[in-house]
Amino acid sequence: MTAIISVENLSISYRVPGGNLRALRDVSLSVARGEVLGIMGESGCGKSTLAAAMINLLPTGARISAGAVRLAGTDMLRLSPEDQRRLRGRSVAMVFQDPMTAFNPVLTIGRQLADFAGAHDPARAAPAALAAMLGRVGIPDPQRCLDRYPHELSGGMRQRVAIAAALLMQPDVLIADEPTTALDVTMEAQIIHLLRDLRSSFDGAIVIVTHHLGVIAELCDRVAVMYAGQVVEEGPVDSLFHDPRHPYTRALLACDPAVVDPASGRLPAIGGRIPDLTALPEGCAFAPRCGMAQPACASPVPRHHPGPGRSVLCHGAGP
């Protein structure tokens, strides 16, 4: 399978008081057409920076020190601002985390969708086309929804609108940055359901950033586990969930409330905190929290390939 979008050896840091915060270190990933990649990890591990980098909309202060984001072969990061703009929304579309703030509060939904589509193709900005797309994502009475303001819709409805907006231009890549995190459980289930339904009719690649293991299990083909700005383990969802190789992945899976025995009355947690990203060790960043750490963990970590499509960044995972 050829990749439609690929991230190659990407390193990104933020200038912060007291040094450089290394948000991403040598991250490489690729997604093929029709494939769904999940990116998971705890807060502050670089998931959202990676998602923003895929569309090159990094916050001010971010610096790309190395690497490329290739969209059908061309490195998006090297394109002129105008060429990048032409790709955004049309080739790569994004669904943001918080549907409450993602829309302009003083413009109607219809006006905003029309502006988004109109930036690339005025023909798709016609009200009939917009309403049809809203209908596809399960919004009742789409015609009326176009005349509504964002605050008049519920969070779940707004996230549906955000997904409709992202699908308007039939992009090659859809990136969803924590699409269900800001929603309550019922809404979350509905949005997961919607995304699963859309999967079958959508022929592009999907990247879902989440810390919800259920979302990964329900929707993704492959999963990349991130820790302290690195992809520490990657592989097909089934194989990785059944046979996690990295101690961090194992710890994450053990923390999922869905697999914890309710009778125990305890929710496990990973001890310790994520490391200071401004002063990372040369060796494994997870070693201080790892129960299996050895002296070797202080030296640079090799990447092993324990199975088809699998990779893991750990001294202990070697043959």
């Binding site: 703009r85 929304g89 579309a93 994004m94 993602a102 302009n104 413009l107 988004f116 303001y149 008049e152």
Partner: protein
């Protein structure tokens, strides 16, 4: 919305009553007796007493105030001490001049301010942004009557392009417009700078909002984002400032109208103060207060129109 409008109207009436009472009290405390002023230095005490009685000045102050309120309610702001003409007639005669001056001044200030504010955001942190910042602050710092004086010297006296005094011939639109240019320039220029700074700050804040990131992520051009999406949000807080600005523009019109000898409520008020013409002073102040309250209320209703969230809060 209707309930809100009614509530605002009630509040306005209350403010008017307070202003009227305070004003009456202040005039009462100012030294100088309207009767002796009206009759001149050679009047006998008997004549003065008779006039005081006729003007109601021998009554207790509370009765006088109530009497005043009663007259105002009937649309009677009293008569000019000197000419005996009704005050309201005089105000209505000159007010259009001041109103047009205010509207044109604020109008061009708004257009220029929005354009300069947007330009500063488009070129943010460049030398153009800094230059605009210095320019804006200079425009804010110079008082309008100083600008008026220099504009008068340069454009009316030296270059002789525009008339120096008056409001133009009655019925001749061309001369009225020509007479309006310099005063409107002088009154508005400070507001150009102020609005440019305000719009810039407001826009920069909005540009950091998540919904602007959404617009960028969908490939909208920066120009469409600023003018189509961000400005709509940024302009809302500016409207209440504009309303207050209209009030202060009317007061700076007092100076500018004097400089250009332009008939208006400013010249009316300064003339009346010089001649201790209290009914005219009080009538003008009352009229301006009422007008100001009207503008502020209208601005609040406009904000409710422009921001659907405010609209819904008011409806609910």
């Amino acid at each position: 919305m209707l309930a809100y409008a009614i509530r605002r109207l009630g509040l306005s009436v209350l403010i008017l009553i307070v202003v009227m009472t305070a004003m009456y009290g202040m005039v009462f405390l100012v030294p100088g007796d309207p009767a002796s002023l009206a009759l001149g230095p050679r009047a006998t005490p008997e004549l003065k007493e008779a006039l005081r009685e006729r003007m109601g000045l021998d009554q207790p102050i509370l009765t006088q105030i109530l009497y005043f309120f009663g007259n105002v309610l009937q649309g009677d702001l009293g008569v000019d001490v000197w000419s005996r003409r009704p005050v309201l007639d005089q105000i209505l005669e000159v007010f259009p001049n001041t109103l047009i001056l205010g509207i044109v001044a604020l109008g061009w200030a708004l257009i220029m301010g929005v354009l300069l504010g947007c330009a500063a955001v488009v070129w943010r942190d460049s030398w153009a942004d800094r230059l605009l910042g210095v320019l804006s602050v200079s425009m804010i710092s110079v008082p309008s009557f100083v600008v008026a004086l220099y504009a008068l010297i340069v454009f009316a006296v030296w270059l002789n392009w525009l008339p120096a005094i008056g409001a133009g011939e009655k019925g001749d639109i061309g001369s009225q417009i020509r007479a309006l240019i310099l005063p409107a320039f002088a009154v508005g220029i400070g507001w150009v700078g102020y609005l440019a700074r305000l719009i810039r700050a407001s826009l920069l804040e909005v540009m950091e909002a998540p919904h602007i990131r959404t617009a960028r992520a969908f490939g909208m051009t920066e120009r469409d984002i600023i003018f189509g999406h961000a400005l709509r949000v940024a302009i809302v807080p500016t409207i209440s400032v504009l309303a207050i600005g209209f009030g202060s523009i009317l007061s700076s019109a007092v100076f500018v109208e004097s400089v250009f000898s332009r008939p208006g409520i400013g010249t009316l008020i300064t003339g009346a103060v010089e001649k201790r013409n209290y009914p005219v002073v009080m009538g003008c102040v009352l009229f301006m207060t009422a007008f100001y309250l009207f503008i502020v209320t209208a601005a609040d209703l406009l904000i409710a129109r422009l921001d659907p969230r405010v609209r819904d809060v008011l409806r609910g």
